[in-house]
Symmetry: D2
Amino acid sequence: MEINLNADLGESFGAYQMGNDSLLLDVVKSANVACGFHAGDPWIMTQTVEMALPKGVSVGAHPAFPDLQGFGRRAMQLSPKELEASILYQVGALDGISMAMGARVTHVKPHGALNNMACEDTDLAKVVAEAIRDYSRDMILLAPALSELAKAGTAAGLPVALEVFSDRAYTDSGHLVSRSQPGAVLHKSEECVAHVLRMVEQGGIVSINGKCLPTPFHSVCVHGDNLHAAETANKVRLGLEAAGCTIVTLPEIDLS
Amino acid sequence: MEINLNADLGESFGAYQMGNDSLLLDVVKSANVACGFHAGDPWIMTQTVEMALPKGVSVGAHPAFPDLQGFGRRAMQLSPKELEASILYQVGALDGISMAMGARVTHVKPHGALNNMACEDTDLAKVVAEAIRDYSRDMILLAPALSELAKAGTAAGLPVALEVFSDRAYTDSGHLVSRSQPGAVLHKSEECVAHVLRMVEQGGIVSINGKCLPTPFHSVCVHGDNLHAAETANKVRLGLEAAGCTIVTLPEIDLS
Amino acid sequence: MEINLNADLGESFGAYQMGNDSLLLDVVKSANVACGFHAGDPWIMTQTVEMALPKGVSVGAHPAFPDLQGFGRRAMQLSPKELEASILYQVGALDGISMAMGARVTHVKPHGALNNMACEDTDLAKVVAEAIRDYSRDMILLAPALSELAKAGTAAGLPVALEVFSDRAYTDSGHLVSRSQPGAVLHKSEECVAHVLRMVEQGGIVSINGKCLPTPFHSVCVHGDNLHAAETANKVRLGLEAAGCTIVTLPEIDLS
Amino acid sequence: MEINLNADLGESFGAYQMGNDSLLLDVVKSANVACGFHAGDPWIMTQTVEMALPKGVSVGAHPAFPDLQGFGRRAMQLSPKELEASILYQVGALDGISMAMGARVTHVKPHGALNNMACEDTDLAKVVAEAIRDYSRDMILLAPALSELAKAGTAAGLPVALEVFSDRAYTDSGHLVSRSQPGAVLHKSEECVAHVLRMVEQGGIVSINGKCLPTPFHSVCVHGDNLHAAETANKVRLGLEAAGCTIVTLPEIDLS
């Protein structure tokens, strides 16, 4: 079975360092690269793509609300036209940087508050999906399994890669358990590995109560905010490989 | 004889209006569109391209230093790597917005202080030209005639369109007369028209002292900061047409 | 009877011009000066205060959400701590610029989405009022009559100046008629003058249906976005003076 | 003998962490707090002042060029009026935040490229010093010993505290050895301690060649970019105390 691992990368800015990109790029096969609105700047973006390519990691855009101070985590109300333009701007900017290295952006995953809102709000999801479709009908939309965003991507005719989270617990309805609840975030490496393998084995999202919501998924999202997280990401990869999975890039996955 | 008219457009930002884009788009055939660093934002960029396309105006990127407060007019010291990345970012961003409308960016013209510095500084000119070349070998560089930037474009293998200014006087060495000098800017419409026609007839830049510096040129830059400027731009066009010129887009000009 | 006229000023930014500050400063007696978050920059702020002082116009801070692109008109979710700090930052910045000219900021009026939200949301209003109170117990809060913000100001022990709008219609419950409704904005000068005089005569807010909600008020807000608006502002002033009112600065009004 | 220790603090931004503020605040007695232009945001500034006050550390403003992406380290050309306004804005903003906690900004130290330029350029130094003087004649200017900035501060009538650097070598003319030269930065704790004590004993700046340039100085600048630097700062403090110095805040030093 082929599966993808993805992570958010290139979230440094100017003199500010964030994350363990170098370590994570040895673990994941697809990188969601910040595009300058919530994090990243042109030179950081360039360095991130330069690191990813020789490691065989596919490059994706990680567009966000224009909110560096809030790291794109604060809800903002953009008009549909503004939002569409902002997504095209960010995807194009990263694609421009990639093209100069002979590569292309092959997927898009919205960031932070934009992603959260697009997973719940059908209208917003449609704006996001159609902006990506207007950029390129071949662009892969990386969206959480069972989300409105994933549905909107399919409706727009995009190839949609469905993701699950390695370190987040799910409710019985398939949503992420709110961070304010106990158990929302899995802190131990073994928990994360077990959580992911359970979902692979059962063929769906497994909730905090053990309920399985059957759904295909193509990618597992891991994090690298600190050293422990990067190590956990690696253990998730090793666990998947031990279970017989091959870790591939998003464009290598059959999404038809 | 075929010649191009170009102007800087899309320089509004959010609630701030600047220029007379609608008027100028009936005059020029190529638009240098601000890319969000000195002016413009994603939605302004979108609206500008949306207005340009049905009028048969070709779309160019107008990248600048990241300085909205200074409108890109202040000298900044970016490292070559940062500058290269910033140009790719801006060109790609506008191209992303254009692609969603089925169009492409076909030329690049640096803005303000970046343009001024690249016209004088051989090393900086090389960075700018090679960034554009790395984006696409078919991208037209729109650069002042006789400038270091134009030379660097040719050296990088780019198609280079040479421009002259309709409302600026030149020194005997082919540089713009400094704005601090009397006569630097031509304020009357008739002066601008006569200045341009003189250069067309003599086949080169004609200085404030009447000296001709022979050089091909392919485009005339006009301005539309106020209503008078937009009207002058139109008179320059009418004057060129009366002199037998056909006004075309940059991609239509033979730059080989 | 003494009454104040106030307007939003200093909303230019860098090369971008907005409003008719010079005209309005001959009409109003208190200026709400943008502080760099939604509009204004340090040099614009300086020029605005420099123009206001010799005309006997009192200077107020007009703090906003950090959203230049959206002109502070988009709802944002800042934590109470961030919001408090942002208000203190902006008020202090303008006060610093004013102090260098021997003047002080004497009032604060929140801008745009921040003001709208603080007029409805009791908790947010409390954060705003207490931030101002922590800056100075003598700082006048300029708040819409009958708003939660005004109540919060009084509860915080601040001197509160209540304002009504010259060009906006009110509902029977004292809120502004939504801009999406017909009649929300009064466009004709005579309508604005009549609206203001009616409220002065009846001693309260007069709704679009003619209902009077009795409330003291100390200031009338006028606008100067275009030449017509600035002329209307002047007619409101003349109308008030003809009705026997003396136009004074906010600090001259007895708010006890 | 009384002497001050100062450090740059509050250089985090939003989700981005920088420096070891908590450690350094136990070592220094005066904090140069970033004001949002090169680093810092209103909430970071608030937290920094909140940490400094109970530790008896005096608060200073660390104004910079408006360049978050370049961390204020890139030369920018602001007009004198813009620069003056930008300094007043930043000092006022931090003072506003401090006032809400019952404290005041008591010194100003320019940051990065602005500081470097003001140490060399007499005209720029005058603009900086006079902006601070216009804010308050009692504001202490913290400037490198033997710099143009220090001279400009004295000429403007400001109390000027002269600083030396604990981890930087000096040329025989009293300038910092360029970072591109070997030995420019002292990396070992013992070297830093010895360097500082040598200057204290000899009553002046001691160059890399052992030459002494006699000058009073009131403060030693230490850094805390990493854990090692913070530990070195502490050793410098212990060394000074062992040599009989008392470490005090800038306002406690007699600058007359």
